[in-house]
């Protein structure tokens, strides 16, 4: 732990503490886990970006059906390849942490569910979302008829201004009515 602490630097640590919802221990743990993902020669370079494939080997993300979306949402890479720097990684953990607010959680949940990044959940997004939830195998997939009915019902319930898509405010409105969301939208290292 001592070496990682010195690598991270005290100023950076307190700055990260100020900017994220993580505690010191959590940041140090995150740093440790992140450096484990780096290869030998990468470790010496500053500001490394770990490619998505290697991030997804983390057991916390490995079997999550939204893993690729999560990486893409939190990645700041200009190639849109889902690679994460340490700061992006902290962002991810902060949004999924215990003390993050409902608002920030629902914001990132919205972006994760917004598969095409167009700022609103439309039928295509909802279809992909439901497929992720039910799994990709044939026996758990919903039939097209069921899917159509489900999406129509979702839109009917949550699309308040009736424009055919669910935007962020409408999404947050739905989320705010489900008290379990905060406890289930969590990833702990």
């Amino acid at each position: 732990m001592g070496t990682t602490a010195s690598q991270l630097g005290k100023d950076m640590l307190s700055e990260y503490q100020e900017l994220t919802f993580l505690t010191k221990q959590e940041i140090l743990l995150a740093h440790k886990r992140f450096t484990e993902l780096l290869t030998k020669d990468e470790k010496d370079l500053p500001n490394n970006r770990v490619p998505m494939e290697r991030i997804l080997t983390l057991p916390e993300l490995k079997s999550n059906p939204f893993r690729k979306r999560i990486c893409n949402v939190f990645s700041t890479s200009e190639y849109k390849d889902g690679g994460l720097t340490f700061e992006d990684f902290l962002d991810l953990l902060s949004a999924f942490s215990d003390s993050a607010t409902l608002e920030i959680k629902s914001h990132y949940a919205f972006r994760i569910f917004d598969f095409d990044d167009d700022g609103t959940l439309d039928c295509g997004d909802l279809e992909k979302l439901v497929n992720c939830l039910t799994g990709e195998t044939d026996d758990t997939r919903l039939t097209p008829e069921e899917m159509r009915q489900l999406i129509n019902n979702i839109l009917e319930e949550s699309d308040i201004d009736k424009d055919g898509t669910v935007n962020l405010s409408e999404f947050q409105h739905v989320i705010s009515r489900s008290p379990d969301f905060v406890s289930s939208f969590k990833i702990v290292l």
Partner: protein
């Protein structure tokens, strides 16, 4: 740039020749304003500028308006739109917004509308948070210090001369945000920065900018004392962070809890979290009683009169014998003031009687009034526990119950049902299977709502429910009667034993016979829930939540009535005339009984875990050849925890170290249950509403459990005569008199304090104030319910308003589309106008 767009949109309007020019002018003015604002808000980043230029070109050149020309998101968008449209066609619902195919220009504008950009656009987020910081600043404006600040740095771009005059809207927005941040107080700024959904690097940039400016202003115009204040605040913040980290490092059982949640999700986790909460309650109680009662008494042991019986091992179960006359029980505590010696001869502690043997040093040295300490420790600790319970209950209520009761089950299921904590592969698979079946069930429910039962069927159902309830009530009554007669039989046995004066043949056997009642009660507690489950299986409830509530209700009925009978036995029978069964100290006896009950409960829970979970799994795997493992019954296990906690709260008065026993029990239980769950159980198939159930359980912990225990304890203190030969309250009529006597003594010593005595007699002894307190409480509840009612109405109104706004939006977009169509195909103008009018 923004002007350009507005102008271009206005142009076709002029040539469109609409029927009422003034109205339409208005509409389009506002719309172009919207677009102008939009391009200022978020459209200034490079890609968006490009998009808008593209839009411009598309508006101008019709021929090139094809899919290939669009940038990627737009193309996807259109493709999806078409698919949506097909879907909607299939579904006869004709929504004006979905049913039509939009031109690319309309799509562009749709996709850059504020409600859609906020989810993805950085500029939009920044501007949203700019508004928020503005609001926060306005709210805090009343404080003079900040007003000083904000006047010097008003949110204008020209306020500070370092930026070159850039037209970039996002940059200026950002500057203003930084400016606002800088003017917030430190804690507000941190909170604001933390809550921004931007990535860390951007946030740290914002922070460093804000800090830079602050430093400059600080060094320029803040006197040194403020600088000192600044450093102090900084230091305090650092201290707070390290305290938080320390608290976090205390987090108990993080790794095992993570393992459980990774495999079973939030439902089973909630059981362990509840266990942890109970553990903290007991640690608190133990610290208080240990520090103020057990420790002082242990340091000043009273002279022991009789030789203690030697240790046999059975004491661990019965709590009697060797343990009887120790610090564990009420009877051991003395009724005088403990004093430190008056002569300072090397810290030798003398114990002196309170009846004024050494009056010269009473006032100078530490004295510790044991009865008073006993009385107040119990009182204060239960009061604090009550406050913590009510607070956590209200918090939990606030989180889990919403005012707005509209139904959106499917949407909630879709958006909130994934448990991100689950990381085990097989559990993930199981969860998606469960979600799939839940979707199918819900859809089936929605599509043929309410299949009407025939009258005969309904009658049958009613009969089945009636039968099930009758079975449950009858079995509960039978059990309660059994306990009642068993306890009275044992009571009579003791009386007989005393009157016949048979010499003690086997003291061990005698002691072991005390265990009969606890074993009976624990056995009932173990077996009857099984019967209730059978009854529920017979009833076959459709909704899982109704099923859970019914099962909770039945178990609660059983436990409350059992505890009621036991309390009657202890407080009504044993305490009424302890001499008939030869008890010198009935409080100690009751304390021992509670210890036995607590221990038996624990042993039976372990047996239940062993037989109900481990052996049942082996049986079903090896003999029945089923692949399914038993499911962890969260509700029943939590109710058992609550039952144990009630016993612990009841027993604190009689057995001050009972919280320590409970702590040990909970610790062991945690590891046993944890390993049992990991080994034997599978994730529950039914959806489990975690926060709602947690609320229910905390309410149960507060209402029947804690309240019942404290009513019993208060009753004991208030109106039962304590035994006359042991304990801190001997020679008093009730325990409550200890406080009264102390107040009288105070008054005697110091006449100035007579107000206190009078206040005491008015407040505590007069029931009037109790009624007033209850009245105020009821009024507060009434006001709260009224406020909630009002909020519900406001929500209804706002929803209506939003729907109207949605209509407006639809109207504007159709209008925009028409205009675009007219511009693009001048030849079809007439036709489209006809269709529109």
């Amino acid at each position: 740039m923004a002007r350009n767009v507005a102008f271009d949109l206005n142009n076709p309007l002029m040539e469109a020749g609409l029927e009422s020019p003034i109205d339409e002018e208005g509409v389009h003015d506002s719309f172009s304003q919207l677009i102008a604002e939009q391009s200022q808000n978020g459209g200034a980043s490079d890609s968006d500028t490009f998009e808008l230029q593209e839009l411009q070109r598309q508006l101008d050149e019709e021929e090139r308006d094809n899919v290939a020309f669009l940038s990627d998101p737009g193309r996807e968008f259109q493709g999806r739109r078409q698919r949506d449209a097909e879907w909607e066609d299939a579904d006869t619902q004709a929504d004006p917004l979905i049913g039509e195919r939009w031109s690319s220009a309309t799509l562009k504008i749709l996709s850059s509308m504020p409600s859609r950009t906020i989810g993805r656009n950085r500029g939009a987020i920044i501007s949203q948070y700019y508004n928020r910081t503005m609001q926060l600043r306005r709210r805090r404006q009343s404080r003079p210090a900040i007003r000083d600040f904000s006047r010097s740095a008003r949110p204008s771009i020209r306020g500070y001369g370092i930026e070159t005059d850039s037209a970039d809207a996002e940059v200026s927005k950002r500057d203003r945000l930084v400016n606002n941040l800088q003017n917030l107080s430190v804690s507000d700024r941190i909170r604001m920065l933390r809550a921004m959904p931007l990535n860390v690097s951007e946030k740290s940039e914002l922070r460093s900018l804000a800090l830079q400016k602050e430093k400059r202003t600080l060094s320029r115009r803040i006197p040194c004392c403020s600088q000192l204040k600044y450093y102090i605040i900084n230091g305090a913040r650092q201290g707070w962070y390290s305290w938080l980290s320390f608290l976090h490092s205390l987090h108990l059982w993080q790794v095992p809890l993570k393992r459980v949640s990774g495999r079973f999700g939030s439902g089973v986790l909630s059981y362990f979290l509840f266990l942890k909460t109970l553990l903290f309650f007991n640690v608190f109680l133990f610290l208080v009683t240990g520090a103020f009662m057990v420790l002082p008494q242990a340091l000043h042991p009273p002279e022991s009169f009789v030789g203690r019986p030697y240790f046999t091992g059975l004491e661990l179960l019965t709590g009697a014998g060797y343990f009887s006359d120790t610090v564990m029980y009420y009877g051991y505590y003395c009724n005088y003031t403990l004093r430190k010696s008056c002569r300072d001869d090397g810290g030798v502690h003398n114990v002196s009687l309170s009846n004024g043997t050494m009056p010269d040093c009473v006032s100078k040295h530490l004295s510790y009034n044991m009865p008073l300490a006993y009385f107040f420790t119990i009182g204060v600790s239960s009061f604090l526990t009550c406050i913590i319970l009510v607070y956590s209950m209200s918090k939990s209520f606030g989180q889990s119950f919403r005012i707005d009761k509209s139904h959106s089950i499917l949407a909630i299921k879709t958006f909130c049902s994934w448990d991100f904590k689950v990381i085990k592969k097989s559990s993930v698979k199981l969860m998606s299977e469960n979600i799939c079946t839940q979707f199918k069930e819900l859809l089936a429910e929605v599509s043929h709502k309410q299949v009407k039962n025939t009258r005969c069927q309904r009658l049958w159902r009613l009969m089945v429910h009636g039968l099930a309830w009758a079975i449950c009530v009858a079995s509960t009554t039978a059990c309660v009667l059994a306990i009642f007669y068993c306890s009275s039989h044992m009571h009579q046995n003791l009386q007989l034993f005393l009157s016949s004066r048979v010499p003690v043949t086997n003291p061990l056997l005698n002691e072991a016979s005390l265990l009969a009642l606890p074993v009976l009660v624990s056995l009932i507690n173990l077996l009857l829930p099984g019967l209730f489950n059978l009854a529920a299986w017979m009833e076959d409830y459709e909704s899982p939540s109704v099923r859970t509530y019914v099962s909770i209700g039945r178990n609660l009925m059983l436990k409350v009535s059992v505890l009621g009978v036991l309390c009657y036995h202890w407080l009504g029978r044993v305490a009424a005339d302890p001499m008939t069964i030869g008890l010198k100290c009935w409080e100690t006896f009751v304390g021992q009984e509670l210890y036995r009950f607590l221990l038996m409960d624990f042993i039976f829970t372990i047996l239940d875990t062993l037989f109900g979970e481990f052996l049942w799994r082996l049986f079903s795997e090896k003999v029945l050849k089923r692949r399914r493992k038993p499911v962890f019954d969260i509700a029943r296990n939590v109710l058992e925890l609550i039952y144990g906690q009630t016993l612990a709260w009841l027993g604190v008065l009689f057995t001050p170290v009972l919280p320590a026993v409970q702590i040990l029990k909970l610790l062991l239980l945690f590891y046993i249950k944890m390993s049992s769950v990991m080994m034997n159980c599978q994730a529950p198939r039914k959806p489990y509403r975690v926060s709602q159930m947690t609320t229910v359980f905390i309410t149960l912990l507060c209402f029947p459990s804690f309240l019942g225990a404290s009513v019993c304890v208060t009753y004991t203190m208030w109106s039962i005569t304590p035994s006359s030969s042991c304990g801190p309250f001997r020679e008093l009529k009730t325990m409550f008199q200890a406080g009264k006597r102390w107040v009288e003594e105070l008054e005697k010593d110091n006449p100035n304090l007579s107000v206190l005595a009078r206040a005491h007699s008015y407040l505590v002894e007069n029931p009037f104030f109790l009624f007033v307190g209850a009245g105020i409480f009821l009024i507060v509840i009434y006001f709260h319910s009224q406020v909630v009612d009002g909020q519900r109405k406001i929500i209804g109104l706002l929803q209506e308003q939003i729907e109207n706004e949605g209509d407006d939006k639809k109207f504007l977009i159709t209008r925009l589309q028409t205009i675009h169509e007219q511009k693009r195909t001048p030849t079809r103008r007439l036709a489209s106008q006809n269709s529109n009018c």
